[in-house]
């Protein structure tokens, strides 16, 4: 996150590329341009902050194909699709594949820049979430299996008594586990813990998928 976010422009039309660079740089953002999707893939590595401005129709790998490529490789860079002719099926497909926005040429500069800002914000957000999730995962790793069990049950909304009964231990023991879990997970409140569990669950869910 130390690096400044980049706006990556992929368009086969040189005039479009250059003019977009000129426009976006006017608001002080850094811009990198590529003429094909392949070229971009070669130069990009996950973790580079920024967003991607993508012309949907290009010779070689098309915009939609690039999106598929990202999904497959779990690359979460926010994508803004630019199209010359807004056909609805394509827009739907792009959005389904995770594009953050869909802009039709010729476009309003304000709209474009706003969209870019949003996308960059989303990138920051995504990165923050990802960091948080990593933290929670670390804490979860410190729990013992019993504690883990207890935490799952607590966050599922079960009472101490129920937990004790299902685990076959005393309520007091459950209480002790619970406080240990809260301590280890650095949760201030039960709500906090639940939130962490949800975050972790998303991660585990995504792992499963």
């Amino acid at each position: 996150m130390s690096n400044q976010p980049n706006v990556f422009v992929v368009d086969d039309d040189q005039a479009m590329r250059n003019s977009l660079k000129w426009l976006i740089e006017s608001v002080g953002m850094k811009v990198e341009t590529y003429s094909t999707a392949d070229e971009f893939i070669r130069n990009y590595y996950p973790g580079r902050a920024g967003c991607l401005l993508l012309d949907v129709r290009m010779p070689g790998m098309s915009g939609l194909e690039l999106q598929e490529h990202f999904l497959k490789h779990q690359i979460n860079i926010p994508i803004i699709i630019i199209t010359g002719h807004g056909d609805v099926p394509m827009a739907v497909r792009a959005m389904k594949s995770g594009a953050v926005d869909f802009i039709e040429k010729p476009f309003n500069d304000e709209m474009l820049l706003e969209s870019i800002r949003n996308a960059l914000n989303k990138d920051i957000e995504q990165r923050a979430t990802q960091a948080e999730r990593a933290e929670i995962a670390t804490r979860l790793a410190n729990l013992t299996p019993r504690e883990h069990e207890v935490m799952e049950m607590v966050t599922a909304g079960k009472s101490n008594k129920d937990i004790a009964q299902s685990l076959g231990v005393s309520a007091k023991t459950v209480e002790a586990h619970r406080s240990r879990v809260m301590e280890k997970m650095q949760a201030d409140s039960l709500a906090d813990l639940v939130k962490m569990a949800v975050t972790a669950n998303i991660e585990s869910n995504s792992d499963d998928s």
Partner: protein, 860 residues
């Protein structure tokens, strides 16, 4: 008298006859032999004599030379003896010997003879090498010989017992020539003194001039047989010679002269000689004679060769000449046999010249005979021809009537009898004009007759005229009358030939009516001669004549005159169209073979042309509509195409707007952006221009263009569509310019159609196997070809045959007019479109157009 001469005459005739039978070849050989022999004989007489003279002269020269040489040698030899004598006389051994001796005058003893070398001589080796003395004597002062050294062992001649004082030299050594006892001697004496210088007497060397001496004197003489000798000049005989066998002593000069040539020289040095002795040199005749004979033999052989050659050449020349003559004679004989039909009774053999003479005589005789025969034949023929003429006259198909100067009939042939219905005997003597010619034509006939009075060439003159004749039954019919003058020896008559021309008149009328045929034609028909003068123009050609601004009998305008000449000279038809007012005429100029003019056939094709032009307009309209519909289909693509530059412009402009308030950036950056805006605006403008050109309705204009540039243009036009299809159009264009003369917009439309069809076809196959190639190049020399090759599904065979049918389509959208219109456009450019399914996958559509040939352009 006659009897006296008859014999030689007979003999002469017999000889001549014999001579005539001798062929020239043989004669030539004989003459050649005779002449050769004669030449040889004469030469044989003349040449040896000349040769002998030459040799005699040579001999003389040689003799003189030899004589001088031999004499000099002889004298040298004598000189050697003289020197020796002096040596001996003055030698010490003699003076020593004489010292104690004293010869008494009265002492008359026989001289003392030594056979061995005496003591008063020095050693023999000292002096014997050079000389050959006979004897050496010591003689006292009174002349008496006291001592003798006898070297030749002969008896001392009496004359030397007391030597004559003349032979004794007083002061110096001296040689004398003399005869002693009939033999020639050389005597050389020198005073002998004793040791005290007292004169004791003389020492004398007596040398017989014999053959040995003479031989020795001529030691180095060549072996050519030259002899020397001593002659007694008074008695003319030899005293001695170097070869006593050949010339013994005492031989007379004359005798020696037989075998030798002799010359005698006197010994002028030996005055003391008491005899008249001479030195003789003898050159043998035999040596020269042999040479002379050899030369003569060679010479004779040469003469023989010359004579033989002469005979051979002479004979050959005559032989060739006679052969030639023989051939001529043979040919003449053949000729006379063929041409005159007579066998020339010529002598086949014998002397050709006589034969020729005979032949000429016979030939002249033959010619005379032949001429006589011809004359006779001619006369017969004349008679016959007269009879034939009469028969012809009678049998002539036309009436022939002979009249005299006054016009009275003097002959009336049988045809005339039949035609006019008169009997010959009835009409003889009647006036021709009133009998045969109709009254109204009488003056014309009279005028025709009168022409013979005035015309200078009246004998060749033939006067013709057409008039009406009357038959016996007063019926009339048209005739052609020809009058010819016949000059008879006594008078002039006229032959009148009459021909019935009723049928000809009918034919002429027919032709006249046929001639009216073109006049009735509704289309213009003209006849023009080579210089361009209108010979004939039918009434329907009036509009053309007014267009050309000329009339019948006048010349055509220059352009058309040139066309007429071209057609006439080339012999080929020429077709053209002219617009006369509102009408269009098609003109065909055709040469009329053999005659000096051409025909021009016109045809009003206004209606046809109008229909054609209307059809063309409809076609143009259809093409335009098709283009518009294509454009409609391409609108989306075009919109996107236009979107690109517009978006870019918007981006640059917004960027500038955002930068300007900040004011931190330099003006350079803004200028860059503005420049970009400019170029993008141009790009947008170009797209719109292109669009307008394709859509806009333009008049069809042909211009010369490189088809490669058209292909590039069209490819850029469909670039967007291609991209949408994920196809990159590969352009495999010819490196050289492919010039065509076309309506650029229409051909672009065709190319657009073909490429778009291909792109659409490619949509039906997976993206990976999509490929589109546009290829251009020459096809043969005269055509240019553009192939559009795709890897689409190809053309099915049932589709292929309907490919160019209107409203046939395999597509869901579209009218099915694209290929039809493309084909129409191509054909309009004298080209075509071909469709081939490619083996494997895909199809190929080709546009083939005639290549533009600037030379052809010049020709048009």
């Amino acid at each position: 008298m006659s009897k006296r001469f008859s014999l030689p005459k007979k003999l002469g005739a017999w000889l001549l006859g014999y001579f005539r039978r001798v062929p020239m070849t043989l004669l030539s050989i004989l003459v050649g032999l005779a002449c050769g022999g004669l030449v040889w004989a004469v030469l044989d007489q003349v040449q040896p004599k000349a040769l002998r003279d030459i040799f005699a002269e040579e001999l003389q020269t040689r003799l003189e030379q030899q004589a001088r040489e031999t004499l000099i040698r002889f004298e040298n030899y004598v000189g050697a003896h003289t020197s020796t004598t002096r040596l001996l006389a003055n030698h010490r051994s003699l003076s020593t010997y004489l010292d104690p001796i004293y010869w008494f005058d009265l002492d008359v003893n026989e001289p003392l003879v030594h056979f061995a070398p005496p003591p008063w001589l020095p050693a023999t080796s000292l002096w014997r090498t050079l000389v050959e003395p006979g004897k050496i004597l010591l003689i006292d002062r009174k002349g008496r010989t006291r001592e003798v050294y006898n070297l030749d062992l002969r008896l001392l001649p009496q004359e030397l017992l007391v030597v004559d004082g003349r032979f004794l030299s007083e002061s110096r050594v001296q040689a004398f020539l003399t005869t002693l006892s009939g033999r020639p001697y050389l005597l050389i004496s020198e005073v002998a003194e004793d040791g005290t210088g007292t004169n004791m007497g003389y020492l004398m060397m007596a040398v017989p001039l014999d053959s040995e001496f003479l031989l020795a004197s001529q030691q180095s003489v060549s072996s050519s047989g030259v002899l020397v000798g001593i002659i007694d000049a008074d008695e003319q005989r030899f005293l001695s010679s170097s070869d006593p066998k050949a010339v013994p002593a005492g031989t007379k000069m004359e005798q020696a002269g037989k075998d030798f040539v002799v010359t005698a020289q006197s010994f002028f040095q030996y005055e003391g000689s008491v005899l008249n002795m001479q030195f003789a040199t003898l050159v043998p005749r035999s040596s020269l004679e042999a040479t002379r004979q050899r030369v003569e033999v060679v010479e004779r052989r040469q003469r023989l060769v010359a004579a033989t050659t002469f005979i051979a050449v002479f004979t050959l020349v005559f032989y060739l000449l006679s052969e030639r003559l023989n051939r001529i004679l043979r040919r003449i004989s053949l000729f006379s046999r063929r041409a005159l039909g007579r066998r020339q009774p010529i002598l086949e053999k014998g002397n050709q010249i006589y034969v020729l003479e005979d032949w000429i005589k016979q030939f002249i005789g033959n010619v005379l005979t032949a001429r006589e025969e011809m004359r006779r034949e001619h006369e017969t023929k004349m008679k016959q021809s007269e009879a034939i003429q009469q028969a012809i006259l009678a049998a002539a198909l036309d009436p022939i009537i002979t009249i005299d100067r006054k016009g009275k009939i003097i002959e009336f042939n049988s045809t005339a009898e039949k035609v006019f219905g008169y009997q010959r005997d009835d009409v003889i003597g009647l006036l021709f004009v009133s009998l045969i010619i109709s009254a109204e034509d009488n003056p014309q006939f009279s005028r025709m007759l009168e022409r013979f009075d005035t015309d200078a060439t009246r004998e060749e003159l033939e006067v013709r005229g057409e008039m009406v004749a009357l038959r016996g039954d007063n019926s009339r019919f048209p005739v052609e009358v020809a009058i010819k003058l016949i000059q008879l020896p006594l008078k002039e008559v006229f032959t009148v030939y009459i021909r019935d021309i009723s049928s000809r008149k009918r034919a002429e009328e027919m032709i006249t009516s046929l001639a009216k045929f073109p006049t009735e034609s509704p289309s213009p028909i003209l006849r023009v001669n080579r210089p361009g003068v209108i010979i004939y123009a039918n009434p329907a050609s009036a509009p053309l004549l007014s267009y050309w601004e000329c009339e019948q009998g006048q010349k055509l305008p220059l352009y058309w005159r040139n066309r007429v000449v071209n057609v006439y000279d080339s012999g080929y038809d020429w077709e053209s169209e002219v617009v006369v007012g509102k009408s269009i005429y098609s003109l065909l100029i055709t040469p009329v073979a053999g005659l000096n003019y051409v025909n021009i056939y016109g045809h009003d094709i206004t209606a046809v042309r109008r229909a054609e032009s209307e059809a063309r307009e409809y076609q143009q309209e259809l093409i335009h509509v098709s283009r518009l519909s294509t454009m409609g289909e391409m609108a989306t693509g075009l919109a996107h195409e236009l979107n690109q530059p517009l978006s870019a412009i918007a981006n640059y402009a917004s960027g500038c707007v955002r930068r300007l308030p900040a004011g931190t950036k330099g003006a350079d950056e803004l200028i860059y952006a503005l420049g970009q805006i400019n170029s993008q605006a141009d790009r947008a403008g170009e797209i719109i221009r292109r669009l307008r050109r394709l859509v806009g309705k333009q008049l069809p204009v042909r211009s010369v263009a490189d088809i490669n540039s058209l292909v590039k243009e069209v490819c850029s036009f469909v670039e967007f569509e291609a991209r949408r299809t994920s196809v990159v159009i590969e352009q495999e264009l010819s490196m050289e310019r492919l010039q065509v003369r076309v309506d650029v917009v229409q051909i672009e439309q065709v190319l657009l159609n073909l490429i778009r069809n291909a792109l659409e076809a490619l949509l039906e196959v997976p993206e990976k196997s999509r490929s589109l190639v546009v290829r251009s190049g020459y096809q043969g020399s005269g055509n240019v070809r553009v192939d559009v090759v795709d890897t689409g599904p190809g053309i099915k065979s049932d589709v292929a045959k309907n490919l160019f049918e209107p409203f046939f389509t395999t597509k869901e959208s579209g009218m099915g007019m694209g290929l039809v219109i493309s084909q129409t456009i191509a054909k309009d450019h004298d080209g075509r479109i071909e469709a081939d399914p490619i083996a494997g996958v895909g199809s190929r559509f080709s546009l083939i157009l005639p290549a533009y040939d600037h030379l052809e352009e010049n020709r048009l």
